[in-house]
């Protein structure tokens, strides 16, 4: 078997430039939607967070025809931004 391994090892190794380019694109893509010009004050969000949660749960539940109990909505803070994470299990 080692004999065949000799040939399979000769597969072209990906250059680190290609890896770097893919990683860079991924990093920048993740960030770009966050670069918004309109920023909602944090206090305004905190006042309405429960309402936001309810609305998202209702919308997801209605759109995908799942029970509201199966929709999980969480708020997390990343680098000073509030991120809304909505979790629903599809079969």
């Amino acid at each position: 078997m080692w004999f065949f391994g000799l040939f399979s090892r000769k597969k072209k190794r990906e250059k680190s430039r290609d890896t770097a380019y893919k990683r860079l694109e991924a990093i920048l893509e993740r960030r770009r939607p966050v670069s918004v010009t309109e920023i909602v004050p944090k206090a305004e969000f905190e006042e309405n967070s429960e309402k936001i949660k309810e609305k998202i749960i209702t919308w997801v539940s209605d759109t995908f025809k799942v029970s509201p109990e199966r929709v999980k909505v969480e708020f997390e803070e990343h680098n000073g931004y509030i991120v809304i994470i909505t979790n629903v299990t599809f079969e």
Binding site: S16, R17, Y21, T37
Partner: protein, 271 residues
């Protein structure tokens, strides 16, 4: 009236101060009257790179506090007589200066110069906001590495929020290693231009002479690698509106190997 340029990056250690010193010297060599301002309060280095650390009497803080005028605080360069430095203080903090203070200082120097180049501190905090406040053009210095490019992109976003459009932001690609690019182990200048979606105004090769020049306190364009000096001249001419293809920078970078070897063979022993 001066054109006001801020040299910024996001990530530290990518060569902002070296770019400011060499670009300032190059523009001065081309006949422009240039003022370079060190806005990196508390961690200043521009005076050291220019070899003027012993000549600084007054600083940016003295000007902001009204002790002296901006003109009185300027230090003239030893070799380039139309290059001036407004140094900053090492024992102050960035919070002691506001963006409005910086605008007032630059406004006072505006009629005296053709170019005012501001050396921004690393980071995106108060010091960055101070440095960019009076500028009309931002040069974003980056190396072709992920952390520097990621931070450069973050700075581009912040500059956009502060009102800079894509024509007012340009990239200087520093510490470029053509051998690594050729081997497929470093991002190319096209990769950087396409990911940041901005024009590159200079590709500066990674060069040992820059370290030697800093050791001596003489910017490399005044006493060092001819290839690097030509690249900085290309950058300066592009900023003046000339159209010089980026290939010309790369030609300097690529021909460096053998030519530099030959030149070093005959010149190094003098110093």
């Amino acid at each position: 009236m001066a054109k006001v340029i801020v040299v910024t990056s996001g990530k530290g250690g990518v060569g902002k101060t070296t770019v400011v010193a060499n670009l300032g010297c190059t523009l001065a060599k081309l006949g422009d009257k240039v003022c370079v301002i060190d806005a990196d309060i508390g961690l200043k280095n521009l005076d050291v790179v220019l070899g003027l650390e012993n000549r600084v009497v007054h600083t940016l803080l003295d000007v902001v506090n009204g002790k002296v005028s901006a003109q009185e605080a300027l230090v003239k360069h030893k070799q380039q007589r139309n290059l001036y430095l407004l140094a900053t203080s090492q024992v102050a903090t960035k919070e002691m200066v506001s963006p409005e203070d910086m605008k007032a200082v630059v406004k006072a120097l505006h009629p005296l110069f053709d170019y005012i180049i501001i050396d921004s501190p690393a980071g995106i905090e108060r010091g960055f906001r101070n440095a960019v406040a009076p500028a009309e053009l931002a040069l974003i210095v980056t190396t072709p590495e992920l952390p520097a490019l990621s931070d450069a992109d973050r700075v581009v976003g912040l500059l956009e929020n502060l009102g800079f459009d894509e024509k007012a932001m340009k990239v200087v690609l520093n510490r470029f290693k053509p051998k690594m690019v050729k081997a497929g182990e470093m991002l190319t200048e096209q990769d950087v231009a396409s990911t940041l979606a901005l024009e590159i105004v200079g590709v500066i090769p990674d060069c040992e002479d820059v370290i030697i020049a800093t050791n001596k306190g003489i910017p490399v364009v005044l006493n060092g690698d001819l290839g690097v000096a030509r690249v900085f001249e290309n950058v300066a001419r592009r900023l003046k509106g000339e159209t010089i293809p980026l290939d010309q920078d790369l030609a300097q970078v690529q021909e460096k190997g053998f030519l530099t070897f030959l030149r070093n063979l005959f010149t190094r022993k003098r110093s």
